[in-house]
Structures are given as C-alpha cells and as structure tokens.
C-alpha cells in the first residue's frame, strides 16, 4: 500500500490552488494539434480556457477529478478534469462561492437567476 501512495504522490502537482464546489474557476488547458504524417508531421500546442462553476470534486490523491459547468450558447456544458493532469496548465480563481453542499447537481435543473451561487462574503 505504501508503495502505491508514494507513487501517487510523485504524480501530484504541488501548485494546485485550493478551490471548492461553488467557486467559479478558469481552467487553462493545453491542446496539442498534429497535422500531416511521416516527416511532414508537425505538432502545435495552443491553450484554451474553460471558465465555469465547479460542481463537484471527486476522488483523492493523484486520482482526484473536478467538474466545471458553464452555459455555452444556451447549452449547459460540463467538463471533468483530472486535477493533477499535465494537460492542465493553470487554474485561476474567478469568484469564490458560498454553498451548502458538496455536489451541486441541483444547478442542472435551475435556469436563469436560480442557477446562480451566492458570492462568498468573507474570504479566508
């Protein structure tokens, strides 16, 4: 067991900011785009941001994941990221939220004003 723990620890990032469900975060991910084959093959990387409400954090250690929800062109989009994935370049706090539960699945059924989360008044 100890061996697996140390192995997982070596996979973990140390500079992950603390955030919770209810917070709004901006996740910057790196996308690799390959074109052509053989010698002509070129790999280009570009970064893309995904901003939205954190509705869940799940798992522990290196296996932890979190889900971000946003409304894109009127359609709800949820993306789950492995917290310690090397694809994630940056996580920025946009707005801390004040919520009473750990999994904000109820947000999915809310529309408009009801689909908001209270701002946190006192930030620690």
């Amino acid at each position: 067991m100890k061996e697996i723990e140390t192995l997982e620890r070596s996979q973990m990032k140390e500079d992950v900011i603390p955030f919770q469900p209810g917070d709004t975060v901006k996740v910057t991910i790196e996308i690799k785009e390959a074109s052509g084959t053989g010698e002509k093959r070129t790999v280009r990387t570009r970064s893309q941001a995904f901003q939205g409400l954190v509705i869940r954090r799940q798992g522990a250690g290196a296996r932890e994941t979190f889900t971000v929800r946003k409304i894109s062109f009127g359609v709800g989009v949820e993306r789950t990221f492995p917290l310690h994935s090397p694809v994630i370049k940056d996580i920025q706090m946009v707005q801390e939220g004040d919520v009473r539960r750990a999994k904000l699945y109820y947000i999915r059924d809310k529309v408009g004003k009801a689909a908001r989360v209270k701002k946190k008044k006192f930030t620690s």
């Binding site: 067991m1 061996e3 192995l7 997982e8 492995p82 994935s85 090397p86």
Partner: protein, 213 residues
C-alpha cells in the same frame, strides 16, 4: 534470453504519461532467488525454480530449510518454477525487475479472485428471465437437455458451480514503468487476483513471436 519473474500484486492506480492517464497495476516483482535448476536428466523437464518474499524463519520446516540452504536463503514466502532455460542461471542467483524495461510487452499469470458457488447467470453469462410481469423464471438455468434421446445430460453442460480461483493469464500487457530501487513494476491494465496475490510476469508470447519474424 527469456525474461520471467514472480512478484506480488500491490494494487491499481493511474499514472500520467505524455499527457495521457494510464491505468496501471503495481507489482512488487522480485528480487527472486534461484533455488533449484530442474534438468532434463533428473526431473524430465527444464525449468528454473525461484523463491520470493519473506516469511517468519520459525515457520519454515526442516526439509524446506535444507532445500533453501543450497541457495543460501533462509525463509521464502513462495517457491515457483519459471519456464526459463536453466543453462543461464546458477543456484543462489538473484533475479530483479531490472530485466524488464519500459515498453516491453508481458504476460501476467495469477490466481483469479474466488467467487464461490455461482449461478449460471454470473458464471456463464446466461440471460435469465424477466424480473417481473408475472414471470416465474428468473435466474434458473432452464432446460438442460432433451428427453428419451439422448436420456442424459451432455458433458460440459454449463451449470452452476465454483467460480474463480482459476489460474488466469492476461496477455500482452505493456510495461509502463520499472523502479529498480523499490522493485516495482508498473503494468498497463488489470491483472488477475486480489491484492497480495503472487503473480508471474513473463515476456509476452506475442512479442516473442514478433521478434522471431
């Protein structure tokens, strides 16, 4: 030279490699001590017997102590035979995970988890019947044969019985990482058995075939 080693399944986790998340089984492989060389003249077949793991020295009986003394070891948890050519080995020699490297393909053999006395749905994947709407047939096997001809049940008919605890080999698993300091072997995918099961890791049959071509 062929590669083989025995080790203990520690459990599963995941590692990130080239931006990809890979599920891995962590195996504490070796160090194994060669305890005996089986030869064609004395045993009728060729193999290398190795020992692995620790055990309380008090719980080793005298005949076993005598056997292990030849290889200079005291108390080993298990002895197993590896299908290797004994010509390349000496009694007392140590085999470590270092024989494998990242990118190798391996076959992993172990004893699968026991499921006890299992019914036909779990054991053979029978469909079973509907659970409601007045159905009186749920998970039973149904008819197991015909009538006066042949007036018997054919051999090999799939019926309930003991499931699991079988010797199972999973082929062609990719070696994702090797840690020679901690004797750890990381293999992509699942491996038979529960945590703590002794498994044998071999160079995969398919990769050997490929190398010959």
């Amino acid at each position: 030279m062929e590669k083989a080693i025995i080790g203990e399944k520690l459990g599963m986790t995941q590692v990130f490699k080239d931006d990809l998340m890979i599920p891995v089984t962590v195996i504490k492989a070796g160090p194994c001590v060669v305890t005996q060389l089986k030869s064609r003249d004395t045993d009728g077949y060729e193999a290398v017997q190795v020992g692995f793991g620790d055990k309380k020295p008090d719980s080793v009986n005298m005949p076993m102590k005598g056997h292990l003394k030849k290889s200079g070891s005291e108390a080993l948890r298990v002895l197993a035979e590896l299908p290797l050519d004994p010509a390349g080995y000496k009694t007392g020699q140590k085999i470590s995970v270092g024989i494998f490297e990242e990118g190798d393909r391996t076959d992993v053999t172990g004893i699968s988890k026991g499921k006890g006395f299992a019914g036909v749905v779990k054991r053979w994947g029978f469909a079973g019947g509907p659970s409601s709407h007045g159905a009186r047939f749920h998970r039973a096997p149904g008819a197991i044969g015909q009538c006066a001809t042949p007036s018997r049940v054919f051999k090999g008919k799939k019926l309930p019985g003991r499931m699991g605890s079988d010797r199972v080999t999973v082929q062609n698993l990719l070696v994702v990482g090797v840690d020679t300091d901690k004797d750890l072997l990381l293999v992509k995918g699942a491996v038979p058995g529960a945590k703590g099961t002794v498994v044998m890791v071999r160079e995969s049959v398919k990769s050997k075939k490929k190398a010959k071509r």
